[in-house]
């Protein structure tokens, strides 16, 4: 049976992890490779590296980082952040990334999704969507949720699927950082209306939030950062609890 995935997300700047992580067993708390190896060993199903470097030099560091991660890590990983061309994706996949995630560049140029799918296949193209619920309507936002677009979340998600994306990573800006749980109503709607996997993101605070997003939110995978980095939730305990709730997981 296909299992639900648990995905820690690492924010990367100039090849280093940002947002402190609270891993006493790390020799170098800023080294994404070391952190990734620990997550791979402790039951993460997949990893996401989100690059927030603002400079060209930072981006080049990312390609090197991908190569170093691929060398050490025996689970799949996705790389996102600032990817805007076929060439960007080519180098990341060549260096060993399993999937790439695009966000703003897809909104600005939706044809990019088709181009990437044609060249690399649906299976490695994830479209990340940040959205905020304003007066009852879910509006797609850019630049980490700061800039609103005119796009409705569900219409955009449908278009993304039609253009061939293999997966959607949906972050609710209303829930992100609150630790009050995922946006399960919107997630369930996405999961029902679309026929590609949906990754839930934004709002993880405790173990029951994951149970809820898999049951009520019908999510295929759940992503979180700080609850894992600060060891508020151990992936092992999380998966055992999911298993007790009859949610299929890889133990």
């Amino acid at each position: 049976m296909l299992t639900k995935r648990i995905i820690p997300c690492l924010d990367i700047k100039n090849g280093r992890t940002v947002k402190g992580v609270n891993f006493v067993d790390l020799r170098d708390a800023g080294d994404p490779v070391e952190l990734a190896e620990i997550y791979a060993k402790t039951g993460a199903d997949e990893l996401v590296f989100l690059d927030i470097s603002a400079t060209e030099e930072g981006r080049r560091t990312l390609a090197d980082l991908v190569l170093r991660v691929a060398e050490k890590v025996n689970i799949p990983f996705t790389v996102g952040g600032g990817i805007s061309s076929v060439e960007d994706v080519d180098i990341l996949l060549q260096n060993g990334a399993d999937k790439v995630s695009i966000n703003s560049s897809a909104v600005k140029n939706p044809q990019l999704i088709n181009d990437l799918v044609a060249k690399f296949g649906s299976q490695c193209i994830v479209v990340a969507i940040d959205a905020k619920e304003i007066d009852g309507e879910w509006i797609v936002h850019l630049v980490g949720g700061k800039v609103p677009t005119k796009l409705n979340l569900f219409n955009w998600a449908k278009e993304v699927e039609e253009r061939g994306a293999g997966e959607i990573l949906f972050t609710s800006m209303n829930h992100d950082g609150t630790k009050n749980g995922f946006a399960n109503e919107a997630l369930a709607k996405l999961s029902t209306e679309l026929n590609i996997p949906i990754i839930a993101s934004g709002g993880a605070g405790k173990i029951s939030h994951f149970t809820d997003t898999f049951i009520d939110g019908k999510a295929d995978a759940a992503l979180a950062a700080s609850v894992f980095h600060f060891k508020e939730i151990s992936i092992k305990e999380l998966k055992e609890e999911l298993h007790r709730n009859a949610i299929p997981v890889r133990l």
Binding site: L2, T3, D98, A118, K119, Q123, D220, R250
Partner: protein, 195 residues
């Protein structure tokens, strides 16, 4: 041991090279016919779309070389699918090694299947010391139905072939190089226990 990963411009071959490296072996990426023929073990990777991958194989004449290979060959993901008779993806003929037609998952499940599923009915040395129902990582929209060459099954909408074998040819729909310790064991079995 000389291990060659066939490099024909389709796939995440770096990950396979690294996975073999983690097992203590070195693999060479090559599209050179002589080098491929002389290898002790050949790995045939592939991600992406079936008909365009077949075009690349035909362009480099690898489509006639691969079925003639005598040493153990392991096709991974699209590599395995291309070793079948045909694929619905882009309506293409395959290499015809496995006598099965690759078809698309029905709309009753999410497509592509992405994630960790289980393997069962294990029937080969490829799975030495691998337990029934272990989890492996897959990403695919098309599958090979269960057939006489099936050596492992997985379940997604239906039971399908998670791995195939005919003579010296092996194929896994899953990615051993991304399937954690279980995948490492399977890759190691291919390198050490399949001769």
């Amino acid at each position: 041991m000389k291990i060659v990963i066939i490099d024909y411009g389709a796939g995440n071959i770096q990950s396979i090279k690294f996975a073999i490296q983690r097992l203590g072996y070195e693999a060479v990426l090559s599209h050179d016919v002589k080098e491929i023929k002389e290898a002790d073990k050949v790995i045939f990777p592939g991600v992406g779309e079936a008909s365009s991958a077949m075009k690349k194989l035909r362009a480099s004449k690898l489509d006639s070389i691969i079925p003639e290979l005598k040493q153990p060959v392991l096709g991974i993901c699209l590599g395995m699918q291309l070793m079948c008779k045909s694929s619905q993806e882009g309506n293409t003929l395959g290499l015809g090694i496995f006598d099965v037609e690759v078809v698309k998952f029905p709309k009753t499940v999410k497509v592509p299947q992405i994630g960790w599923n289980q393997i069962s009915n294990l029937k080969s040395k490829l799975f030495k010391e691998v337990k029934e129902n272990e989890h492996i990582y897959l990403v695919h929209s098309y599958y090979a139905p269960v057939c006489k060459e099936t050596i492992a099954q997985s379940d997604y909408a239906i039971n399908y072939s998670a791995a195939l074998q005919k003579d010296n040819f092996f194929g896994t729909q899953f990615h051993p190089e991304k399937s954690s310790l279980v995948g490492e064991r399977i890759l190691k079995n291919f390198l050490v226990h399949i001769n």
